[in-house]
Amino acid sequence: LETVVYFRAQMRKDPDMASAVAAIRTLLEFLKRDKGETILGLRESLTGATDCLTGVDSSVAVSSGGELFLRFISLTSLEHQDLSRCKKVMEERGELFLEKISMSRAKVAKLCHTFIKDGAKILTHSYSRVVLRVLEKAAAEKKRFSVYVTESQPDSAGRQMADALRKLNVPVTVVLDAAVGYVLEKVDLVIVGAEGVVESGGIINKIGTYQMAVCSKAHNKPFYVVAESFKFVRLYPLNQQDVPDKFKYKADTLKTVKNLSEEHPMIDYTPPSLITLLFTDLGVLTPSAVSDELIKLYL
């Protein structure tokens, strides 16, 4: 499918781009090339395209990006009855939307770096481009801080984060995932990214985040989450089992493996009671404010 090819090309072209943004870009391109005659047909083909994309990259972010785009289509199509004009408006607004969300990481970094005080010791989990951006901004503001990164098995993404931080001349130490409790007494604050932010204000992120959140609560350290607003997703998990299987495992694993109970999940759910604040491009939010934002969008 050329959708998949385009998506992969987008991801390769800019490795720094969020996967949701790449998904939205792909869907916009799909929209431009679509030859459908009706809006309903358009919606159906877009849903098909989104399913295609989630078949390639089953992360929450791609799913939320796709849903947001569909919502965008529905909202725009309500305003204009004529398909061709509708499509033109959609394309314009789509480009505008992409422009705005490409600035979202900068907004988040601007909000968050003030919370990093001089001499702070920060703990983070795995590789997050948003957290990296925040730390870049703080380093640019001449703040002195040091970072502990968890190795984050099974893919050792933490090492990638450590390399990126070393390039910024930030003192960084890689710790075992099991050493989170050990290291927390030295740490001043914990900052993590998120793959998805759910309706309750909790987050879905790389496995090991929940553990880190529980330990920070026990040590009374602030647990901050940085995420762009397009990651808000309409899920309300009540516990770890509630998170749909399609997000927990990689797309290839889902297709090939018969017995999922023998596989290790790649993500976990952190409930809102463990999160102190969320930094998004919509502002600094308490977890209870997240559902408000989602309601404003979907109702």
Binding site: L68, T76, L96, F97, I101, F232, L285, T286, A289, L297
Partner: protein, 349 residues
């Protein structure tokens, strides 16, 4: 036409206000309550609107912001000043939107919805001139002033719902709002009040005297006895200097201790705070604000470092309820009230 006399008169008043604020902070001038500061700030802003020279809403907001930055720099710990400035800026924006006839006032905040549906990067530059804008803004500021005058009464009116007969209430230091609250309840109910004296200024003593004059049975305790006495307390009612955006408090020192003791005994902690104390700042205060120093005499003075923080940070998890002039709210709801009072672009003056 406002002549040069009016301009100098205006600058004189601003200078007088600034020096008053500075003196109030150093402890030499009369200690003013936050309500008075809020009222005086709003009156000053009304005067600026009336007398300064401006042709469009954008100019007015620039002037207010400039003066606002000066005033907040004079006394950074007095957050009510900044809050009132932000309220007035929001008023100006609303009146401008109303004059333009647009219904944009409902969707001023950033939201996911706005991201998806807006037609362009809307740069609202407030350049249009409206003749009636000045009158509308001044009228709205007058409404704000009336609201400010009624805040303590509005809070006190809610007292009977929260205080029951034969209860033991604990408070700390001196808060005019809590005083009015308790006095209002005392008209119909009999209860006991324990006041923690709140060293080193021991404002608790004045609070106790004032309450006992109103016929309330009051006991004064030392701050160190808070935990010991807490098991006998039914409710803790306190005032605060500022309410932060995450639902936390910046209150007089000793309040965090009180809050932790209340949490330990599962005693509800009620904060009486009028809406003008709500500030868009977030986060913990790691910096010590020692503006007051204690007198230590003798040789020890050279060998000792004295830190005397004026304010405490109380995290939102320790607070049960906020009682404001518009009713009772949970700490997790404060962000919503904030979005209704201030515009996000005004958070940073």
């Amino acid at each position: 036409m406002p002549g040069p006399d009016k301009e100098t008169d205006l600058t004189e008043r601003i200078e007088a206000f600034l020096s008053d604020l500075k003196r109030g902070g150093s402890g030499t001038g009369p200690l003013r309550g936050s309500a008075e500061t809020a009222r005086e700030t709003t009156a000053l802003l009304r005067r600026i609107t009336a007398q300064a020279r401006w042709s469009s809403a954008g100019d007015l907001m620039e002037i207010i912001r400039k003066e606002g930055r000066r005033i907040t720099a004079a006394q950074p710990s007095e957050t009510t000043v900044g809050n009132m400035i932000r309220r007035v800026l929001k008023i100006v924006r609303e009146e401008y939107a109303r004059s333009r006839g647009s219904s944009e006032e409902t969707d001023q905040q950033e939201s996911l919805h706005k991201l998806l549906t807006s037609g362009g990067l809307s740069e609202e530059n407030f350049r249009q001139h409206f003749a009636t804008l000045k009158a509308n803004v001044i009228e709205a500021i007058n409404e704000l002033l009336t609201e400010l005058e009624g805040t303590t009464d509005n809070i006190a009116m809610q007292a009977l719902e929260h205080i029951h007969s034969n209860e033991v209430i604990m408070t700390i230091g001196r808060s005019r709002t809590v005083e009015a609250f308790l006095k209002d309840a005392a008209r119909k109910r009999k209860f006991h009040v324990i006041v923690a004296e709140c060293a080193p200024f021991c404002q608790g003593h004045e609070m106790a005297t004032s309450l006992s004059k109103a016929g309330i049975e009051t006991t004064v305790i030392a701050d160190a006895a808070i935990f010991a006495v807490m098991s006998r307390v039914n409710k803790v009612i306190i005032g605060t200097q500022t309410v932060l955006a995450n639902g936390g408090l910046r209150a007089v020192n000793g309040t965090h201790t009180l809050a932790l003791a209340a949490k330990h005994h599962s005693t509800p902690l009620i904060v009486c705070a009028p809406m003008f104390k709500l500030s868009p700042q977030v986060g913990r205060l790691s910096s010590l604000n020692s503006q007051f120093t204690i007198c230590i005499s003798g040789e020890i003075l050279s060998k000792v470092n004295v830190h005397c923080p004026v304010f405490d940070y109380v995290p939102p998890e320790l607070i049960t309820l906020f009682i404001s002039n518009i009713g009772g709210h949970a700490p997790s709801y404060i962000y919503r009230l904030m979005s209704e009072l201030y515009h996000p672009e005004d958070h940073e003056l």
